[in-house]
Amino acid sequence: MTLIEQVGRPVEFLLVEDNPGDVRLTREALKDSKVRNNLNVLGDGISALAYLRRDSPYENALRPDIILLDLNLPKMDGREVLSKIKADRALRRIPVVVITSSEAEQDILRTYDLHVNCYVTKPVDLDQFIKVVQSIESFWLTIVQLPMPDESESSSRD
């Protein structure tokens, strides 16, 4: 079952991004989406992890269906966030899309070594950017088969 078919609620996005400009652009891109969605934004790696683990003050956070992660973040950078997510049994099945402005080969290699689900470079052109965000959304939400969150994963929800 694709994600859209699984959930009867708005799709939960977690965007970890410190640049308000990019946050706004992502919001603009998702606004036109056919899929009902809920965009949660966190500006640094530490709060992103706290959100995912429902540490204070995020006790009531919803488990995201997809994570959009920037690499260069204050406090804890995206690579470390990624490695922590992928090392956490409760979180590692959530698809993580790294979306960054870096085209550096060492970033791409390292990120895949940390088991990212996919790596996307932010296009400069606005139309392209919107198209990329919408492609991510449609690919991960309507095309890809994802596992149902299992007991152990959902148990951490309460």
Binding site: D22, N72, S101, S102, L126, D127
Partner: protein, 544 residues
């Protein structure tokens, strides 16, 4: 010859007076001549018999071209002995005889003995002969002895001349050798030092002789504290020792030298020869080279760092400018004034161009840092890919591409493709408005290189711009005429240079242009090949 031996007229006079040979005697000795003419041939026969009785001299005599000629020549020689005057021309003549004896290999000891035999024989004959001039003039025997000694002295001189000359050459080589040469006895005491010593270590040869090696040796970096004994041991074992030494200069400073130690004979006890040259200048150069290499590495790292900064930190704010001016245009175009629309268009255009420039700079800086190893590359295949990428422009312009056979080169296939794509792309872009582009691509062997040429029938380039076109971001046309960042040919130059070749252009305005570049051919089993496979395996090994 006499000059080389320092045999001046004075010297000859001195020798004669030393022997007590007077001018009268020189004349009276001629009285013996008639007698000698009769009897000397018999003496020569006697002499040859004596010579033949010793195997080593017998061999020399047998080797002579003509026995009878030798016989008569030697008889003449002894007769001439009593045919004064004994002037310079006589001296020259006698020296020549000495040299010819030396040349046939008869040693001086044998010649000396022959003179002895001659004197003994001559005295006996002169005493025994009834009509001997000796009976009238008994002093002739003394005179003959003096003349014979004078003559043998000359012959000996000629013998030692060659030896002296050889020694002189050797000593000149020793003194003027660019390296310091020190000869030690078995206890490491200096016995000989050449003049170069003063130039290099500050001490004159005479000051050095008698000193111990200990007085100069600071240490031998290669041997740590094993000391000089170890050097001699190694020299004895391996025939010689070679390495770096630290010595003390006369002015107290330390002197790094490159030295070689040989033994004079089988064991160190018989003495040693140490040769060395100053390495201070060399070391200075090594340090400078290392410094430059480090600078270069650092500057390469800086460039790479810059590339990263450009790719990330610089793009980030630029992306904001681009995206939001675009968003502005999308939301408000047509809703504000015409002027506002124009402003927005300029802003969007500027941001997009800046992005293109940053990307171009990145591509340029990555030619070296992102280059793949140089391997066997089919340039024909690289051109296929380039033409495929340009297929739209080729179709659109109706271009005709004429390509000859293309060789295999040593290269980075991706960069060779980029090279063709840029050069052919330029030919399409700068086409003449009057005619469809016709592009000719050829390659030929030129010396150690393959020379590639890409010719077009386009608008051409004036000669004063030939250099400028290869400079990054230099453009000859406005953006309205021909769009572009001005990176293409700078990139081509950087790629060709990374491959060890060069690129140039021939053209005149309106006549089209020919771009020429060289690449190294790939040779099966060649030296390049071996270094290539090393390169490739190194790359493989270093991959994560």
């Amino acid at each position: 010859m006499a000059e080389r031996l320092n045999l001046s007229g004075d010297e000859i006079r001195k020798r004669k007076s030393f022997l007590g040979l007077s001018g009268e005697e020189e004349i009276s000795i001629n009285l013996l001549r008639p007698q000698f003419q009769k009897t000397v041939p018999a003496f020569v026969t006697l002499l040859h018999q004596r010579i033949r009785s010793f195997p080593e001299t017998a061999r020399i005599l047998e080797k002579a071209h003509s026995q009878s000629w030798l016989h008569s020549r030697q008889a003449e020689y002894f007769i001439e002995l009593v045919s004064g005057p004994y002037d310079m021309s006589y001296v020259h003549n006698r020296l020549a005889v000495g040299i010819s004896h030396q040349e046939i290999g008869l040693g001086p000891e044998w010649v000396q003995a022959s003179f002895g035999l001659f004197l003994e024989w001559a005295c006996r004959i002169l005493r025994e002969e009834p009509d001997s001039p000796l009976s009238a003039n008994p002093r002739l025997a003394d005179s003959l002895a003096k003349i014979t000694l004078f003559d043998s002295g000359l012959v000996m001189d000629s013998y030692f001349m060659a030896e002296n000359e050889r020694n002189e050459v050797l000593s000149r080589i020793f003194e003027t050798n660019a390296e310091v040469v020190w000869i030690f006895d078995g206890k490491w005491t200096l016995r000989h030092a050449n003049k170069t010593s003063e130039k290099i270590i500050g001490w004159t040869p005479s000051e050095l002789v008698g000193k111990s090696f200990e007085d100069f040796l600071v240490k031998s970096p290669a041997l740590s504290d094993h000391g000089k004994g170890r050097l001699a041991e190694i020299a004895a074992c391996e025939g010689h020792w070679e390495g770096e030494l630290l010595l003390t200069h006369r002015n107290g400073s330390e002197l790094a030298v490159w030295a070689t130690l040989h033994l004079l004979d089988e064991t160190p006890e018989s003495g040693m020869i140490l040769e060395f040259r100053d390495r201070t200048a060399e070391k200075q150069m090594e340090r400078e080279l290392l410094q430059k290499t480090n600078d270069l590495l650092r500057s390469n790292r800086d460039l790479e760092q810059f590339a990263y900064v450009a790719s990330h930190d610089l793009q980030e704010p630029l992306r904001m400018v681009t995206s939001y001016t675009q968003l502005l245009a999308r939301r408000y175009e047509g809703r504000l004034s015409d002027e506002a629309d124009e402003f927005i268009r300029f802003a969007v255009d500027g941001a997009i161009r800046m992005q293109a420039l940053i990307n171009a700079l990145l591509t340029y800086s990555r030619v070296d840092t992102r280059g793949r190893p140089l391997i066997e590359t089919e340039t024909g295949v690289a051109l296929d890919h380039a033409l495929e990428n340009l297929s739209f422009a080729i179709r659109e312009s109706g271009a005709e591409i004429d390509r000859g056979p293309l060789p295999r080169v040593v290269g980075d296939p991706v960069q060779i493709m980029q090279l063709f794509q840029n050069v052919v792309g330029n030919a399409l872009k700068f086409r003449s408005p009057d005619r469809p582009p016709r592009i000719t691509i050829r390659a030929e062997k030129e010396g150690q290189f393959c020379l590639f040429s890409v010719s077009d029938n386009g608008i051409g380039i004036a000669p004063q711009y030939f250099e400028r076109i290869f400079t990054i971001f230099q453009r000859l046309h406005t953006r309205e005429e021909y769009p572009g960042t001005g990176i293409g040919l700078a990139l081509c130059q950087r790629i060709v240079e990374r491959h060890g070749g060069s690129i140039s252009v021939r053209s005149s305005p309106g006549e089209g242009a020919t771009f020429l570049f060289t690449l190294k051919p790939f040779e099966e089993g060649g030296a390049t090949n071996a270094s290539l496979s090393q390169n490739v395996s190194f790359q493989k090994g270093s991959k994560p």
